[in-house]
Structure formats: structure tokens, C-alpha cells
């Protein structure tokens, strides 16, 4: 899309924008599927996003122009599509993510390029054509459409009712960058509906293609790219669809799909759980200016200011109440690791005082705060720690008094001796010579 346009839009929408990164969303979805998500799209637009739609096979608008991302967020709902336009490749999607673009990917039982994308994030989808099946709870719907209980977590609003899901599960790797949001019910498993017990049993045996079953599988999983954007993997796009949003649960109550759609998109588009370090400073106790060098055993004060994105107010606000922030003073290995308590006087500022190690070298103040679901906070400031200057050592120590006395008295003695010697008569010497 035209940069000018994007600029214009970003200017216009600056007021109502809710994401911390931007408002332009590219939705890659086929025309017929597009109708299934009207509610979701309305919700997004209501939150100030500008949606740009693109057919999976269409060439425009491009994701990247000369390696510059053209959108702030990309929504890949074209899950059933097999072939995509040339610029929609796993590599490009990863590149987008590293450039702080947020990507939502909906998978489906149909194999497509996302099947090669997901494993890069440690998410392994089941063999193609094997949707998630569950006979629990007994209901009239087909077994591939199932209500899933929402486990409490940082991302989804607490006690959200169960949500309808239809799609595939994927096994979730142990990478700490992964954020499980919605997991499969323990009775569910991935299989094509006409599979028999034999085939299922064989799948787990040696050489089988494996069994995707149980509550350890992910249905909706987030991924926080290191200093980059956020990726959200949906087992199936349907979870965002109008159909499921309006569909009542077996017990008649309304489903949580609307809610979860809102929450996960908010997380994925960096509205929620977004932190940043505003500033860090360091100086010696009762000084204000940072020193170029610190001397060993200095009392050093390290201060950092953390703020959090407030999507409602659409602004960065001081982030209070972090009690597990830690500072490392590192040369090769951390020499000091201490918690940084919050400075209650100034909200959002955290400050700690510690004694510099008695060992010189090039040290680094390192704050590396990572919590699942949150953006990572990383700050490293290099500062040399030097030994005291030649005149930096204590002088006139009591222990050395005798030595000072010795030196002085020798000098005095020398002067006196010289005076008397010079003044003395040289006669005796002469006499001795004579005798």
C-alpha cells in the first residue's frame, strides 16, 4: 500500500489507536471467508484499527516493500487456502515478526505453508486432514466442533465461559517464548472421523506418525519474538467467527468466543502486557551525574523507569508493582545480582544501591526482565570499573606512623649531622695523620 496513505491514516487514527505499535492491519482472507468474521472485524475497527483486505492469491498490497514492512499487523485467516501469492512465504512472515510486526495465523486441517511455518516456533501440527475430535460433552454437534474450557491465564479475561473450537491441535514445544492461551480438552484427540481404534493404536507405536491427544496440546498459542513482534497461532480460524460467537453452549449459555477473540487479538496486536524501559541512569551515591568510570568499592545507584502501554487511555503509563525485577552487574559472569525495589515516591521508577565489586574490569548493568506473555525488558549499559587513582588511597595511616617518624628523624638527623660535621674541626683528622 502507499506509504503516504498509511502515514495519513496513522495521523488520523493517532487519536483512537489502541495498539502500541500501530493501526494498519492486513487481513489475508478469501472473499467468501471474509463474511464469516464480520463481528470480529467490527470489533477491531471499533478499536481503531484500519483493516486492509487481500485475497490470498492477490499480489497487492505487499507485506514487505524493499524489506520495509507495510503494515503493523497481519492477520492470516485464509486457513483453507492451499496456494498463496509469491510474497507470502514462511520466511517473509518470520522476517515481519523480527521487524516488530504482529502476525496472527489460523491453521486448519488442510495442509498449507503454515504447516512449515509453525514448526519453526516449536508448534507441530498433526498430519493433514486430522481435525481435533472430542465426544465430550455429549452434544448434537459433530465431534469436530467442541466447546473448550478456558483455563485462567494472563491474557484471557478471568472466568470467560467455554468457547467453541473447530480446527487442529498442535503439540507445543518447551520454548519459553511460547505462551499457551487455550489448550485442548483432555478427552480430545486429532484424527479423521473414520479412523478406527487400530489405526489410532498403530499411530503411537514405533514408526507411527504419532498421536495428538490430551490437554497438553495447544489450540490457541502465542509467541513473543525476542525484541520483535508477537505471533498468534490459532488451531482454526473458526474460533473468531460470527457463527461460534453466536452459538450457544450445550448448557444453553452463550459462548466466550467474542471475549476470547477480543482478548487474544488485543494481546497479539500489542495492546496488552506491553512494557518498555523509559530510561535508565546510574551514578555514585549522593551524586547526580553518571560517571564515566566507577572506582572499585564505589556505592553505585542504578535507577530505571518502566512504563506500560495503557490501551484504553492510549498512552504509556508508569508500571507499578513489579516485585521481581532484578539487576545484574556483570563481567563475564554476574558479580552482583540483586532485586530492584520500586521507588514508592516515584511510581514506575525502580532503584537500587550496591557496592561495586573490588575487581576492575569492564562491567555491564544488565536488566533482563522476561515473563511469559509480557514483552521482554532488556537494558545493558557498559561501564568500566577501575582501581583507585594513585592518590585515591588513604594516606597518613596510623599503622605507618613509626615509619613516617623513622623517615623524618633520619632526615633531621642527616641535616644535623651535616651541620655539625661541616662545622667540626678537621684538626683531629690531621693530628691522627701526623702521629
Amino acid at each position: 500500500m502507499l506509504p503516504l496513505l498509511s502515514l495519513l491514516i496513522s495521523l488520523v487514527t493517532l487519536v483512537v489507536a489502541r495498539s502500541s505499535t500501530g493501526t494498519d492491519v492486513l487481513v489475508i482472507v478469501s472473499a467468501e471467508e471474509q463474511k464469516d468474521y464480520t463481528l470480529f472485524f467490527e470489533d477491531l475497527e471499533g478499536r481503531g484499527y484500519d483493516l486492509f483486505f487481500r485475497e490470498p492469491k492477490a499480489e497487492k498490497p505487499v507485506l514487505l516493500d524493499a524489506d520495509v514492512p507495510q503494515f503493523h499487523h497481519v492477520l492470516m485467516l485464509a486457513s483453507d487456502t492451499k496456494a498463496f501469492a509469491s510474497d507470502i512465504t514462511p520466511q517473509n512472515i518470520v522476517e515481519l515478526l523480527t521487524k516488530n510486526v504482529n502476525v496472527v495465523v489460523a491453521l486448519s486441517p488442510k495442509q498449507n505453508l503454515f504447516y512449515t511455518l509453525a514448526p519453526e516456533f516449536g508448534l507441530v501440527p498433526p498430519p493433514p486432514g486430522t481435525p481435533l475430535i472430542s465426544y465430550f460433552p455429549e452434544r448434537t454437534d459433530p465431534p469436530t466442533v467442541l466447546p473448550v474450557h478456558v483455563a485462567p491465564g494472563p491474557i484471557v479475561t478471568p472466568n470467560t465461559p467455554p468457547v467453541w473450537f473447530s480446527g487442529i491441535p498442535f503439540s507445543v514445544g518447551n520454548s519459553p517464548l511460547l505462551v499457551p492461551i487455550l489448550n485442548a480438552p483432555s478427552e480430545s484427540f486429532a484424527s479423521d472421523s473414520d479412523s478406527t481404534t487400530e489405526s489410532i493404536v498403530e499411530s503411537v507405536e514405533k514408526g507411527g506418525e504419532g498421536l495428538w491427544a490430551g490437554s497438553s496440546l495447544g489450540l490457541v498459542t502465542g509467541f513473543q519474538v525476542t525484541d520483535g513482534g508477537r505471533a498468534l497461532f490459532l488451531g482454526g480460524g473458526a474460533i473468531l467467527s460470527d457463527a461460534f460467537a453466536n452459538k450457544a453452549l450445550p448448557d444453553g449459555s452463550s459462548s466466550g468466543n467474542k471475549q476470547i477473540a477480543h482478548d487474544v487479538s488485543a494481546w497479539a496486536f500489542q495492546e496488552s502486557l506491553v512494557l518498555r524501559i523509559d530510561e535508565t541512569s546510574h551514578h555514585v551515591v549522593n551524586a547526580t551525574e553518571p560517571k564515566e568510570y566507577y572506582t572499585t568499592n564505589d556505592q553505585v545507584v542504578y535507577t530505571t523507569k518502566i512504563s506500560r502501554w495503557n490501551a484504553k487511555e492510549n498512552e504509556w503509563e508508569p508500571h507499578t508493582g513489579v516485585d521481581d525485577l532484578q539487576l545484574e552487574f556483570t563481567m563475564l559472569d554476574p558479580h552482583v545480582r540483586t532485586g530492584i525495589p520500586e521507588d514508592l515516591a516515584r511510581p514506575g521508577t525502580y532503584s537500587v544501591t550496591f557496592r561495586a565489586p573490588d575487581r576492575h574490569g569492564v562491567f555491564k548493568f544488565i536488566v533482563d526482565y522476561r515473563r511469559k506473555g509480557w514483552t521482554h525488558l532488556k537494558s545493558a549499559i557498559t561501564v568500566p570499573v577501575v582501581p583507585p587513582r594513585h592518590d585515591g588511597y588513604p594516606r597518613f595511616l596510623s599503622a605507618a606512623w613509626p615509619y613516617y617518624a623513622g623517615a623524618v628523624s633520619t632526615s633531621v638527623g642527616f641535616v644535623l649531622f651535616a651541620a655539625l660535621y661541616l662545622a667540626g674541626e678537621t684538626k683531629e683528622a690531621g693530628k691522627k695523620k701526623k702521629e
Partner: protein, 757 residues
Amino acid sequence: MATAYTLPDISPTAVKNTASLVRIVALALISGAAIASRLFAVINFESIIHEFDPWFNYRATKVLASQGFYEFWNWFDPTAWYPLGRVVGGTVYPGLMATSGVIYNVLHKLNLPVDIRNICVLLAPGFSALTAWATYMFTKEMKDASAGLLAAAFIGITPGYISRSVAGSYDNEAIAIFLLMFTFFLWIKAVKLGSALYGSLAALFYFYMVAAWGGYAFITNMIPVHALTLMLMGRYSSRLYVAYCSWYAIGTLSSMQVPFVGFQPVRTSEHMGALGVFGLLQIVAFAQLARAHMSSKQFKDLLFYSVIGIGLIGAGGFVGLTYMGWIAPWTGRFYSLWDTGYAKKYIPIIASVSEHQPTAWPSFFMDLQLLIFLFPAGVILCFRELRDEHVFVIIYALVGSYFAGVMVRLMLTLTPCVCVSAAVAFSSLLDTYLDPAKPEVPVVEETAPATASKPAATATATGTSAIDDVVNAAKKSGKRGIFDLDTRLIIVFNAFCMLSFFVLHCTWVTSNAYSSPSVVLASQNQDGSQHIIDDFREAYYWLRQNTPETSVVMSWWDYGYQIAGMADRPTLVDNNTWNNTHIATVGKAMASTEEVAYPILRKHDVEYVLVIFGGLIGYSGDDINKFLWMVRISQGVWPDEIQEPNYFTPQGEYRVDDRASATMKNSLMYKMSYYRFAELFGGSKQAMDRVRNQRLPTVSPTLDYLDEAFTSENWIVRIYQVKKEDPLGRDLKSANAFTDGKKRKRSKPVSRRRAIM
């Protein structure tokens, strides 16, 4: 009186004045020659700092000149030995920098805005002139002015000294040799006169020496040995006491003012000899005093018991203190001079330095040509009239020749002594054959040395031997001299030829062997014209201009100083090899696979890795040839991770072609050296390594964790950039596979249960 040839009759005073004038002129000319012959480097190449260490000295000097002495003293260099940093003030011999700093300031006071670099480049030649003068003074004490002039000429142009003092080799030795000779001169003077003034002066110059060069330990041990020998020869005198005590008392205290030396003079074995002799002198002096007041009988047993007793106490105390760890035993570097196998086994870093290799005879001849065989003759002559100062030269000759044999670099300490004694020999030859007196008439100037030597000779040589008889008999007969003119002429002519040959030799050696500033290389084109290979500076300036100030560069330690000096970037290790583990770490990174090396690189914040590769144009001093040392050094620290044999073929050959061992091929160093090397040759016909003379495999190694950043014109310097971790947390190998569009093999949910064995 009858003379071999007619002498113009000139008044003795006139002769004296002319002689002194000639002497001054000669000295001036010698200084000129000394300086001139060291300028080949500037003429052939340019006014540039040479080699490795000089680059650090130059950098330090700039700091000193720009920020003043106190700042220099407290200078902490965070870019060296990253991230350990280096307390430069406390780990250098500041004498060199201080000297050029002073010169710089003086010149600027005189409104002569000279660039500090030129001062540094020309410091060594300047001081070589002073060395010539000092040698002159020293030799004058040995024999006479004419010998002195010869010695000055010798030291002025002998390659053995030029090799370390050409223009641009801005190293401690540049000024140290002058200080060495001058301190010795003052010492000899002090012993001769028994003057505390000369003793104190010797101490002052000793202090300068300590501030200038680690080799001061040579003085610290030479002077005590001399004093001790004199005492053993029964030549103790109050003069010796005065000279030694004033030197030691002031010298030791002053030497401890140098931060780098610190308390060593009272804490380490290298310095204990001097202390012991000092103590011994006190005892003997007291004994002498006592003797003046007692009958010899009483004196004898008192002296005997006291000396024995105190000697025992002293020895016991020394042992005890060493045992308690108060006195450090010999440091490795020093110890390796005695136990020559020691270094290779325990301190490979030292053994790896080329100038620490033993000396084969050709380098002796190369450096000293005819002096090397005149030198024994001179020593014999010293024995003939065995005055105190001659004893000094003899000891020097003995010790010096041993050290020079053990280490190439110590040739430097031998050279002055060789020059002196050679000069003595040569000039006494000329004296004999130029002396106009004919033997018929009783010889008028029975030369001073002869007379002076008689008592000495008789005093010492109590036991008589045949040689003594010969010499003394000859002396008795008194008829000494040359009868005929032709013999005189042939000898003089002969001597003249030899000297001129010496000059030719020195000029040739200096211009061809010792004037290359290894930063810039020279090669001959087909038409014989000189072609300058400037890859090093090309690469260093690339770093300086294309990388951020703070990006850390890893390379083998040889290039640390140059990178710091020319590229101005932090380095992991440099030529000041004080931290074995850190160097071993670099060695390990170079010697192990990418996967192993990568964490090390990241931990040390390395952003660029620099390797020297000579395979393309046949530059033999490259890193592949130094690789085994890296392996050895890191093996010393991680014996079970790095093992030298794995880098050889099963037949025990060191190969880089397709027969090279797997460990070798996977090592980071190998990969960085030969990355894209085969492509350069179009892949079809195999790439040829001109240094190893081996054909490389047609497929060159691949790199997953590094990116090639820069390769210099002749591929001598190759710089690689270290990749960042993958933002998706994959290992870079699979990340690369993904970007290259390689399919990842399908995986399935894995069992999380691992049974306990």
C-alpha cells in the same frame, strides 16, 4: 729515538689537542653513521611504527603526551583484554613513553611542533648515538680512547643492535641498551674511584633502566656477581664497599618506585642475590674495621665465626622466607633461561614467541660478523691485565654468551660486550703495529696497562703456569715491538680490509634483513621492482571506519596491539600476555567447532573475528601456522576438550587438504581461513594453499554462526562478523536452513518421560 717511520715533529700539547679534537669529530661521525644506517626502514618504506609492541608503546605515548604524566600513570585501558581491562599505569615500563613525552614537550616549548609519531619513530636511532657514546666511555675505562672509538663504531653499526633499534621499532630496547651501557660505565667508574657520587649516579640510571625495560634484572644480577667475584678473588676494598652500597641502597629503593616492579626487589629470588651481596659486604666491611683494631689471631677467629654465623643465618632466613612464601621463587620467564625445557612444558605462551627460540650460529655471525671471533681474543687480553673492570667484562662475556645462545632476543645484551672486547682486541693489535718505536731502543711508552697489570697479575697468579712464564718472560725481556715496515703495512692493510668488509656486511644486513616494518610487506615484481603489500592497514582501517567504536574484535594475541593501535577497537587479548586463561579461551574458540565457539564469543561480546591467512600469496606467518600453539595453549587449560593429536592426520602430519582430520576441518580457524577459498579458484581446479603447498578440497567450508564481513586485497586479513541469536530462539544452524528454504523433517509429539538409569 729510532722509529719505524719518520714522525712529523709536533709539540706534545699540539698532539694532545689534535687527538682530542679528532676524538670528538670521530664520535660525531660515528653517531651520524649510527643514526643514518637505521633510517633504511624509513627510506625503503615510510615513517611508520613497526611490528607489534611498538604500536602499544606508541598508543601509550600519545596518551602520555596528550593527557600528562599523572593521567598516564592512572590510565585504565578498558579496550584491552576485554572485558578484564588493563591497568596500564601499573603494568608497563613507563621509561620509554616518559622519554619521548619529555622530548615532545621540550620541543613544543621551543615552538617546534613535531608530530609525536616522528619522535617515536626516530627515538631509537637517536638513542643509538647515545649508546655509541656510552660504549665509548665504557671501553675507555677498559683500555683507552682509541679502543673506545672502535667500540663506539662497532656498536653503532653492528646488526645485532640495529635489529632492535631501526627507525620505527619503538620498543623498550631502543633506550634500554644505552641505559645498560651507561649504568655499567658508571658502576665501573664508581668501583675504580670508590666514589659515592658515581654510585648514586649509577643508581639513578639503574632506576631509569628499571623504568624502561624488564631486562634490568640483568644489571641487578651482573653488578652483584661482579662484586662477589672481586671479593672471592680477595680484592675487597673500601672502594668496592662504597660503590656497591651506594648503588644498592639507592638503586633498590628507587627501582621500587616503578609501579610495575613494586615490591619485587625485596620479594623475588631474582633480586635476592643483590641483597645477599649487600649483606655480605656489610659483614666484610665490619670485619675489616675490626681487623684494624685487633691482633690478627683474635681477628681471624672473630671474623671466621661471625662471617660463618651470619652467612648461615642469612641463608637460613632466605630459605625460610621462600618456604613461607614471603619471597617468590624464580618467575617462569626467568627460570626458563636455566631449565631450557621448562617454557615449552609449562608456559607455552612464552615458548610460542619466535624471538624466544634458541640461537643457531648463523644468526650470531649475521649479527656480529667479525666481532664474534675477535671477542674471545679481547677476553683473553682482559685476562692478561686483570683489573677490576676487566673482571666485569669477563663475567659479562660469560653470562651474555650463554643467554644469547638460549634466546635469540638476548643477542641484544651480548652485543655491547662483544663490541667492547672486540674493540679492545682490535685496537691493541693496531697499537702494536702502529707504535712507531722500534725494538732496538728501550721502549719508551711501556704502555700504562702493562705496568698497571703487573701487580695485579702477580697478586692473583700465585700459582704459576707455563703461559704466565711465557708472558712474563717476554715482558722481562722488554724487547717489544715490530721491526719492519712491511709487516706493519700488511697488518694495517689487512685490518683496514676487514673493517671495511664489516661495514659492507652491516649495511647489507641492515638494509635487507632488519628494516622491514612487518606491518607493511614488500614483495618483488617480475621486473624486480618493489611491490608493497598493505593488507594489514587496509583491514584495520576498514574496522576503524565501518564498525561502531565499541565493537569487540577477537583475534590471536599477536595482533592485539595493532588492532588497538590502528583500528582503535577493543580486543580480547594482546601482546602483553599476562593472562594465560584468557588467551587459552581465545585459543579454544579458534580450535573448536562453531557450536562450541559461539557461546564463548557471545559471552565475551565479540562482534568481529579477525584471522590472518597467507594461503593466497604465501605469507607464511599466518594463523594456520600458529594454530598449533593456540591448540596447545588451550589444551593446557582444557585438556579433555582440546587435544593436539586430533588436529593431525592419523599419520601425524599437519595437513589442511582433504586429508586433514575432521577436528581440524571443523575448527573455527580452519573454516574462517578457507571460507570461499575454493570459489576463488572457480571450484573447478582445486584451490592451492601457497604456504602449506597443499590442494584444498573443491568445496569450501560453510559458516553458520559467522558472516564474512571483510577480506583484504591479498586475503591476508579476513574479518568475520558474529551473528546475533535467532529471534525465534532456534539454533542458528536450523535458522539458516529455514531461511534457505530447506524442509525440516516432520516431528511428532515426544514422550516426556525419561527413566532413571
